[in-house]
Symmetry: C2
Subunit: 195 residues, 2 copies
């Protein structure tokens, strides 16, 4: 049963987020027992994506070209810069169709427990990008959990020190929800930010 | 944001069991954003495993060689054949160190809802293997949920028709458990099979 190639596959699958030893084993057995064509297709897709998907030189989102479509779009409002944690978050904001400014994609969020500080998420690149003289308002759209809030706090201090207007996405009651089931922190914020 | 290579990667990751659209997206973004070396290592491991890990010609478990180590082991009791659903189950039984016979690994289990019948799990290969004149007892060790039990039922009928002794792993109270928390079906079985 000892099989170097199988063990190497199980070990490699553990690099996927949320996949531990047991899941990796189940995935490896499934692929080899039932779906070898998909395994080869996945291998090919990984190699193609790693070689072809690059980062935009201006906003750091994923892009085929040196500068992404959004950054090149002349119709975008260049005085607005929205800061997000990942290309996935940017995609979510884009799907709403409610924002027409530009983006800056951090490489993650500040997380002292994991040893990730402001340098690791590209804060200096953001400060440089935001100080181009065109950007007037930076909208912080990091996530609304502890680490995302901490990241927003650190960034806002640095950006305000450079004389930029800094805003944060509004916190409040989600659309379609019943007050009875909304958590207390959210309701407290909705009271404070009422309009 | 539309990116063919990224979409192809997300689509390919969905071949992994338990991974849906959202998880696949999170995995793809994680690999491209934070861990490109692991992505390449995974691609390599997939290709190596698919090309190197083959099936044993006798028991159908995973093996580098045409016939696996267990089947070649002269010290094994050749009159005992244990039928399992997957190489993972075989590995679990081997770890107990309580069985010294040979194995036969089915390619899954009978599952009419998924269109998997006796032919798809290699029943004819099992019947041929068990009828070699050396095997005297076939131990059915398919899993103990509905599909595994159905598989065991179908196999036992066919094997008994060929004059073989057929047994099933004992059902009963798990070691270390408190009766209060054991399910009723298990306790009922433990009463019936008391010794």
């Amino acid at each position: 049963m000892a099989d170097a190639a199988l063990d190497a596959l199980i070990d490699s699958l553990r690099c996927l987020p949320g996949v531990g030893q047991k899941s990796a084993q189940r995935m490896a057995y499934h692929l080899l027992q039932h779906d070898r064509p998909s395994a080869l297709r996945l291998a090919q897709a990984l190699e193609t994506a790693v070689s072809e998907v690059k980062h935009c030189a201006r906003c750091y989102t994923f892009s085929h070209e040196p500068v992404c479509e959004v950054c090149l779009d002349e119709a975008r409002e260049r005085q607005l810069l929205c800061v997000v944690e990942s290309p996935a978050d940017q995609a979510a904001l884009e799907r709403t169709g409610s924002y027409r400014g530009l983006y800056f994609v951090l490489m993650g969020r500040i997380s002292p427990l994991d040893g990730i500080g402001p340098r690791d998420i590209g804060m200096s690149a953001l400060l440089e990008r935001a100080s181009d003289g065109v950007v007037q308002e930076v909208i912080l759209a990091t996530n609304f959990h502890a680490e995302g809030e901490a990241t927003a706090h650190v960034l806002s201090e640095q950006l305000r020190a450079r004389g930029l207007k800094v805003t944060r996405l509004a916190r409040g009651v989600p659309v379609g929800s019943e007050l009875e089931y909304v958590d207390l922190g959210t309701i407290a914020h909705a009271f404070m930010d009422r309009r």
